[in-house]
Every structure is written in C-alpha cells, then in structure tokens.
C-alpha cells in the first residue's frame, strides 16, 4: 500500500519525527539524574582548622594533661544521605594499621567514636580535643592507661609503645549498609569497595603516673 501524501504533509511528518526525537531526548535528560562519582573525603586539621599545628607548640612529644586540639573533616559526596561512624583507635608503630587495598580495618578496638548522619554534599567539621590523663612505665615501655576526649574520660586503653615513642591515633570511616543493617569499614561504589582512614603520630614522653 502506498500513501499518496502531498509535499506539505511529507514535510509535516518529517518535522513531527524530528521534534519528537528532540523533545524526547530533552525530557529523558531532564528526568534522569546524571551519574556522579561517589566518594567521601576524610581529613584531620590542626588547631587553626588548617593542615598545620597538629601539636601544642608544634611539638609531637605530648605531656600529661596537655590538650591537643584537632578538627575532624568529612565530606559526603555519595549522592544520598549517609549514616557514618568515625572510629578512633590508638596504635603503636608495630600494630598493623587498616589495609587500604583489602579495606580491612585495624584489629584494635576503638577508644571512642563519632556518629553522624550526613546529607548529600554535607561537610562535617567537628572538634576533637584530647589529652593523656594517665600513663604507666613498664620495663622500657610506656603504657597509656587513660585519655580525656572532648572533656570525657576514656579509661581502659592500655596502649604501649617502646619509650613512649611513635604512638598514632587512627581515624577509620565506617558507613551503615542498609542491606546488611551493619556498619562496614569503607563504602561500596558500584562493584568497587573503597575505604578512608587517616592517622597522626605522637610521642608520650611525659613522666608516668603509677
């Protein structure tokens, strides 16, 4: 069957097809959200909220009851709200840190944690002030027994380091997985697992309380 369309009808049908294609494309682009890279940015800032002055008088040898002021920085670019925990752990130089390749957290227990819900594109900036409250000397090692974190005592730590040198405070980012209903170290983006952690070293060379 052959349609005998006039020249004008032919032009109109061509126009209709062209306009339909253009408008459909514009509608699809408008209604479909653009995929974006999903990530978190985690960092520690010094007392002036910059990447400097991490220790009082820039001296990493921390004495008893000297407050050390840091700011924790976390940016959520995951495309939706996230429920996170930042687990704070005290390690020495020989304790294995988290593994970034396999996204395995440090086996040490956290001495404190920060929980927050962050909306998409929200940045968390929270103060983290700590001091060493009690240490003990045992042989050639110094054992940190108790810390004060944001004016709250944290006892039962028992972290040792030879001569009190090379302690490190580690911040691990854990996210809540809605499917497993558990907190997991790092986050899932597509088929890939990513994780974020950061650390700051210090020495506890103060005279011990025993």
């Amino acid at each position: 069957m052959k349609l005998n369309l006039s020249k004008d009808a032919q032009y109109t049908v061509t126009f209709l097809i062209t306009v339909s294609l253009i408008v459909s494309t514009v509608t699809w682009v408008t209604l479909t959200p653009r995929p974006q890279e999903q990530f978190f940015a985690l960092g520690i800032l010094g007392s002036n909220k910059m990447a400097e002055h991490y220790y009082p008088n820039d001296n990493p040898n921390i004495t008893l009851n000297t407050p050390v002021q840091w700011y924790l920085y976390l940016y959520n670019h995951m495309g939706e709200a996230q429920y996170i925990i930042i687990k704070v752990k005290l390690l020495n130089s020989t304790t294995p840190p988290p593994n970034s390749t396999s996204c395995t957290p440090s086996s040490q227990p956290a001495f404190t944690e920060i929980r927050r819900a962050l909306t998409d594109n929200e940045t968390l900036e929270t103060q983290f002030t700590w001091s060493i409250k009690e240490t003990k000397k045992e042989g050639g090692s110094t054992i940190i027994k108790e810390l004060t974190v944001n004016n709250n005592p944290v006892a039962g730590i028992n972290a040792y380091a030879t001569s009190g040198i090379n302690y490190r405070i580690i911040f691990e980012l854990w996210t809540y997985n809605e499917n497993t209903q558990q907190f997991e170290f790092g986050w899932q983006t597509g088929n890939e697992r990513r994780c974020a952690w950061t650390q700051i070293w210090f020495n506890a060379t103060a005279p011990s309380q025993s």
Binding site: D8, Y11, T12, F15, L16, V19, S20, V23, S24, V26, T27, T30, L31, E80, A81, Y83, R115, R116, A117, L118, T119, D120, E122, N152, P153, V154, A155, Y176, E178, Q181
Partner: protein
Amino acid sequence: MLCSIVSPMRRLQALTATLIFILLTGSLLNSKFIGAKTSIEAADAIQEAETASKNAFKAILEADKAGANIADQASDFNTGLNLLSQAKNQNNTYQDYTAAYNYAKNATEHFNRITLKANQLKDQATQNASQQRTTTYLLAFLVIVISTIAFYFTLKLWRKYSLRRTLGMEIKKGGVK
C-alpha cells in the same frame, strides 16, 4: 503473777513497734531508689535506641531517595545520636544506669518521632515527583503537537502567500540590450 502477765504484753508491744519501724525504714529506703535501673535495663534501653536509630535512618534515606528535603531530619537524627552517646557514656564510664536508661529512652522517642516525620516527607515527595513526571510528559506531548500543527499551518500560509505573489506578478516588457 501480775508481772508474768504484763511482761508478755509488753514484749508483744515492743515486737509490734519494731516491726512497724522496720517496715517504715524499709519503705523509706525503697522510696529513695524508686525508679533506679539496673545495668541490664540500661543495656536493653540502649539496644532499643540503637534499633530505633537504624529505623529512623532507613526512613530518612527513603525520603531522601524520593526527593524530599531531609536536612532538618538529618539534624534531628544527630540530636538523637547525641542522646544515645550520652546514654552509652553514662552506662560505660560512670555506671549511672538510671541516667543511661533515661537518655536511651529519650533517644528512642526522638528516633521514633523522626521515623514518623520522615515517612510523611517520603509520601509527600513521592506524590510531588509523580506529579512532576506527569506534568513533564504532558508538556513534552503538548510541545510536539502544538509545534507540528503550527508548522503545518505556517507551511499552508507560506504556500498561499507564494501563490498569491506569483499570481499578482505583472508581465513587464523587458528590453534587450
């Protein structure tokens, strides 16, 4: 003989007075600790608050995915987390189980309120998104139809104009150089 009769009565009176004293003292001591919670009750309340927090976050996330503005809910959620943190602190650091229990119960109520509000926001956002989608599709359809009709009639008018111009032409004698 009289002595032997009075003595048991006095003993009975003394016994009654002692019993009353013990009962009164006991009730007074008890009243001091009315509302005191055990470590198990505090731990249960904290666990309940943890579960409520997960439910609240689930509701917030669903509202977020539906396109609702969840900034206020997220802020309220963080207030609830502070209450939960206080409960844990009282429980673990100070062993004040009553305070821990009260903080945890407050946190649970707080999270339950957030869940309700977030569910309302989700329903509203879903409805808005559906309306917006329908409007966009309708608008796209109208643009296609109106522009095609406009094109067709413009073409017709152009043809008419061309014909009229052709018919209105005058034949002029041209000179040959």
